[in-house]
């Protein structure tokens, strides 16, 4: 009898400890960062190497980098997922080869992506330190996540739909456009948001691809600094930058929290709908 109670006690203890630690961390960031947060902080450019001023151009750069990443990875990822689930038979060697490549890509550390991005986008393609280089590197990083979530979304569409569509003489493309895509859309959007969330949190892949410059970028070919890099720079390289580092961290956490919760609630809604209609 006491053995069982011991296990229950231990597990509850673990949960309480973990909750406390995490709440503590979040609280510290909020407390230290909130004081520096203001509208001017969000729109003004950084001054004095970031010790004062704001993060306006940095937010813009981050947005541009994410845009490039998603605009590149999303269509490619969707097409690959559609091919893997709808247009490839189970035992296809091509499908197996593609899936394995994506699995391996998913495990590569972010700093290795940074090395690759530097060697390929910055040097070989001559894009230099730019938003484009950073965005394209992130696109490679985010591709596996998008493909995986899209594949899951399509696999979750009941096979009955495909059989019924076939029995009615609909072409595969018609079934895809009118039936499968609309049904899988919530899952696809949830996956897209998840990818954006992961990309926004990324630092190591951007250090050597998108550059350090913290002013407003002129174009996609210009260098730009992302929020995560700004936090890193302020805390490690700039003495006295801690305060603004915390404020920037708070901004980044809030943005990512909004993106990730939308993704999760969309995914839950879609799961719920699936269960109801099956």
């Amino acid at each position: 009898m006491s053995k069982i109670n011991f296990a229950t006690l231990l597990i509850w203890l673990v949960a309480i400890v973990i909750t406390t630690v995490f709440v503590f961390i979040l609280a510290e960031i909020i407390v230290y960062g909130l004081s520096g947060l203001s509208w001017s902080f969000l729109v003004e450019p950084p001054q004095n190497a970031g010790r004062s001023g704001g993060i306006g151009p940095i937010i813009i750069s981050t947005g541009l980098i994410l845009f490039v990443a998603i605009a590149t990875a999303a269509p490619l990822g969707l097409a690959t997922a559609v091919l893997l689930t709808e247009f490839t038979p189970q035992d296809s060697r091509f499908g197996f080869f593609v899936e394995r490549s994506i699995d391996i890509l998913a495990g590569i550390p972010s700093i290795v992506f940074g090395l690759f991005g530097n060697a390929f986008f910055c040097l070989y393609l001559g894009l230099g330190f730019s938003i484009l280089s950073g965005g394209l590197t992130l696109a490679c990083m985010v591709l596996p996540i998008l493909i995986r979530t899209a594949t899951e979304g399509f696999r979750a569409v009941p096979n009955d739909y495909r059989l019924a569509a076939s029995a009615l003489g609909l072409t595969r493309s018609a079934a895809l456009i009118h039936l499968l895509l609309p049904t899988a859309t919530p899952a696809l959007v949830a996956g897209l948001l998840l990818g954006i969330g992961r990309a926004g949190a990324e630092t190591a892949a951007l250090i050597f691809t998108s550059g350090y410059v913290d002013r407003m970028p002129d174009s996609l070919f210009d260098s730009g600094r992302a929020l995560s890099i700004h936090i890193y720079d302020l805390s490690m390289n700039v003495a006295g930058g801690d305060a603004n580092a915390n404020s920037t961290a708070l901004v980044l956490i809030i943005i990512l929290f909004l993106i990730n919760s939308t993704s999760i609630s969309l995914a839950n809604q879609w799961m719920h709908k699936r269960v109801i209609s099956s």
């Binding site: 019924a164 009615l168 003489g169 009118h178």
Partner: protein
Amino acid sequence: MNPLLLESESIAHKTSNNSYTLGPMQAGTPCCKPSTLLSIENLSLYYGNKPALENVSLDIYQGCITALIGPSGCGKTSFLSALNRLTDMIPDCTVTGNIHYKGIDLHDPTIELLKLRKEIGMIFQKPVPFPLSIRRNIELPLQEHGISKQSELSSIVQQVLLDVGLWEEVKNRLDSSALDLSGGQQQRICIARALALKPKVLLMDEPCSALDPISSAVVEDLIKRLQGSYTIVIVTHNLAQAKRIANYAGFFWVKETAGCLIEFGQCKQIFESPTHELTAAYVNGCRG
């Protein structure tokens, strides 16, 4: 002239006094022997190396309801899937033998599958309405098969919904989701959707088994009304249902793990004076 293209309208679509366009009801008892629409010879079906069906030969007659009876696992659903080549979509499935539809070999590689499936429609056991509005469910296949005029689409939608007896129930909510309907209504939408393509043959895989008794009765009534204008092949576990509606019946059983056809003939003969002892045992409830 490709015989798979539409022929001129059959008698059934002439409007009569009642709002249904299917003409007066005909009794489901044996009739004279009409012409063969589908002829199946030595059909065998394998999943991988395992045989699911061996050497089935029978004829499907035009305008009649042919019931396929027998216990589970005898290959009846597999047989049905072979008739509109839905077996192509099942991984690792091989079909051997001859199936001739209006004299044309179904396995001829020059056949246009999409046109074939317009002429041979299928209704599944579990109602599968698309997650679209009622109207879109019926319009989508029509649009994909080339009908684009809105007026034509609307009139076909109304006609088939009348035919299946759903028009009064849904005419005010054609744009609401088909998933909101009851099981029996959903199955009738699926039938309406198939009828909209003006098929010659309807393959039905236990269309009533997933429905409650009342919906089941409504769908069964509908199937009876379709007789004469459509050729129907229906798989059913419900012997009483088969007795009620079928003209012809084929009895399937399992021999050494593969399904096979034991006996085929007019429905009255199968139930009242079967020639094979297994058939007699099954229809009298002694086995299966």
